[in-house]
């Protein structure tokens, strides 16, 4: 059985106890996206301001939930602030890969990944603190907690991509 220290890394607990970029932003100019995990009632609200150059100039996180969903949201906010939308998308892909690869390995799928649509991590993308969340995949029911913030952000970005 995986140990708790795999899940609750110190850096995760730090983000949980001292969440970064917590709060709200006026909409507009900010965009607001809301995500919900019906299983556990976790709720994430992402406020996002993208400037004229396509950079995330400000981000705030609202909502409530467990340590994993809240710390993941906090880490995400720190990671995307000041990044271009392309960089944000690359981060999102890298984070999802981190979750998925382990997930498939958990299911005993030790294949080389070729011929499947399992995302491959891009070594050029540095996940920083977010890498601490990789232990979550050993607790499959918690993966949804970890990805909630990113799914919410992605939905927000998709809306942004659509002509207003």
């Amino acid at each position: 059985m995986p140990g708790l220290e795999d899940l609750y890394r110190e850096i995760i607990l730090d983000h949980y106890r001292n969440p970064r970029n917590r709060g709200e932003l006026a909409c507009p100019p900010a965009r607001r996206a809301e995500g919900f995990n019906p299983l556990c009632g976790d709720e994430i609200v992402v406020y996002l301001v993208v400037d004229a150059e396509g950079r995330v100039s400000d981000v705030k996180i609202g909502g409530q939930g467990c340590s994993i969903s809240q710390s993941s949201a906090s880490m995400m906010s720190a990671a995307v602030k000041g990044r271009t939308l392309d960089e944000v998308r690359a981060l999102n892909r890298a984070f999802k890969a981190l979750m998925t690869i382990h997930e498939s390995r958990l299911e005993g799928d030790e294949g080389d990944g070729s011929g499947t649509d399992t995302p491959v991590p891009d070594p050029a993308v540095d996940l920083g603190d977010l890498a601490a969340l990789q232990g979550v995949v050993r607790f499959p029911v918690r993966i949804k907690c970890a990805t909630l913030a990113w799914n919410t952000l992605t939905n927000g970005l998709e809306e942004l991509a659509q002509p207003a």
């Binding site: 059985m1 140990g3 708790l4 899940l7 609750y8 607990l13 949980y16 106890r17 299983l39 556990c40 009632g41 976790d42 709720e43 409530q64 939930g65 467990c66 340590s67 994993i68 607790f139 918690r142 907690c145």
Partner: protein, 423 residues
């Protein structure tokens, strides 16, 4: 036959239940990982005693055939076992006749049977169905579906801040009501509802009373007539029995006025190309091959519970609940909020709580590390959780195999949670 005799070794009729002795009859507690299993989630599903497991295996090993069909001896024997199980369940809940006991897949199917078969035949647009705010989704969603499909009006009895049913609006709610459907015991708050009082008022108003007894029958002596129910639903797997079997009890006259639910074999007397005649009670509601081994297992579970004695079960759970309330109070004070009544005589052995600002998922995860199984989430009662103002709770629940040491372990585990998150 060994599987048909009571379990005398479980019946030391002393004045207190010896949980350690009972526990020895449950093989799962021998499941030796690196730490002992501290199972505090019996409200979700109970563990199974050896007597139940062996009764089912013994049935398959010695006498399985389809029921009510073969003329050969083996089929007759299987039919006998199945119908004996029905009689055992009828006796266990004080049903006047085994004809009133219908086997279903679970409590959910039993409640759906009532809403859809009885409901569709007897309810018209605008008819009033009275529910409570503390219902499990199983006694909520079928009625919500009926509201959509038939246009019945749903009214709700609320709850008081201390987790009791709020009866102040009862008379107004009952005005014109055709059905009152309520839980005998909340699976979140543990509240024992005044079913008889509500049933009497409902009957005066001319309403039929549907009782969700999923959390009641496993834990308290049950007498359907004393409860004043017209329908009563419960589920095998929460009362030491197997999954895959539930029970709908109904008063004979009410069942007679209920059309069949599912159609198929077994539930008919005659089928022509232009119609069918339904079978008599209770088979009219048991379409297709029923859960035969499960019925045998459920009967074995009933015998185990009768061997212990339901008064004893109830007394044991009151004692454990008092101990838990005292222990958690002394240890955590205002940091731990128990949802539901404080008096252990007014509640069952289900304790939902909020602990500091810790999320129930985190609590359940950390407790799991010490082998402690508790539930985290909305417990299939979202409207109730909304009323309580929380999105999830942690829930510990106990049964015949739990004792004070399990509560102590829970308290210890909560200290570990608190330390890990430094809250």
């Amino acid at each position: 036959m060994a599987t048909l005799s009571p379990a005398p070794h479980l019946a030391p009729r002393l004045d207190v239940l010896d949980a350690r002795r009972v526990r020895a009859e449950f093989p799962i507690f021998e499941r030796c990982r690196h730490l002992p299993l501290i199972y505090l989630d019996s409200a979700a599903s109970s563990q199974k005693p050896r007597a139940v497991i062996e009764a089912m295996a013994g049935y398959y090993e010695t006498c399985h055939a389809n029921v009510h069909r073969g003329v050969y001896g083996l089929a007759e024997e299987a039919t006998g076992r199945y119908e004996q199980a029905r009689a055992a369940v009828a006796r266990f809940i004080g049903a006047p006749s085994a004809r009133e006991v219908v086997f279903t897949k679970n409590a959910t199917e039993a409640l759906n049977l009532v809403a859809f078969s009885w409901g569709r035949a007897n309810l018209r647009p605008g008819d009033v169905v009275v529910l409570t705010e503390m219902e499990h989704h199983a006694n909520l969603v079928p009625w919500l579906m009926l509201a959509e499909q038939v246009g019945v009006e749903l009214r709700y009895l609320g709850i008081t801040d201390d987790g009791h049913l709020d009866l102040s609006g009862l008379d107004a709610a009952l005005d014109g009501a055709k059905v009152v459907a309520l839980t005998a015991m909340s699976n979140v708050l543990g509240t024992l509802n005044p079913v008889r009082r509500v049933a009497d008022a409902a009957h005066v108003a001319g309403a039929v009373v549907v009782v969700d007894a999923s959390q009641y029958v496993p834990h308290l002596p049950t007498d359907v007539s004393a409860l004043g129910a017209d329908f009563l639903a419960f589920t095998g797997h929460k009362m030491l029995g197997p999954t895959g079997i539930g029970v709908l009890w109904g008063r004979e006259a009410v069942l007679e006025s209920t059309p069949p639910f599912l159609g198929g074999g077994e539930m008919i007397r005659d089928v022509r190309l232009d119609g069918f005649t339904p079978n008599e009670l209770p088979w009219k509601f048991e379409a297709g091959t029923p859960p035969i081994a499960e019925a045998v297992g459920l009967a074995a579970a009933v015998r185990v519970l009768e061997g212990i004695g339901m008064e004893m079960v109830r007394a044991h759970e009151i004692a454990l609940t008092s101990y838990a309330l005292r222990t958690l109070d002394a240890r955590f004070g205002a940091d731990l909020v128990v949802h539901g009544p404080r008096a252990s005589a007014e509640r069952g052995g289900v304790l939902s709580f909020s602990f500091k600002d810790l999320h129930p998922h985190d609590i359940a995860q950390v407790l799991d590390q010490s082998g402690i199984c508790v539930r985290a989430g909305h417990h299939c009662a979202k409207p109730l959780l909304r009323r309580l103002g929380v999105s999830a709770t942690s829930r510990a629940s106990w049964y015949v195999y739990n004792d004070e040491s399990d509560i102590d372990a829970l308290a210890q585990g909560l200290v570990a949670c608190s330390e890990l998150f430094c809250l």
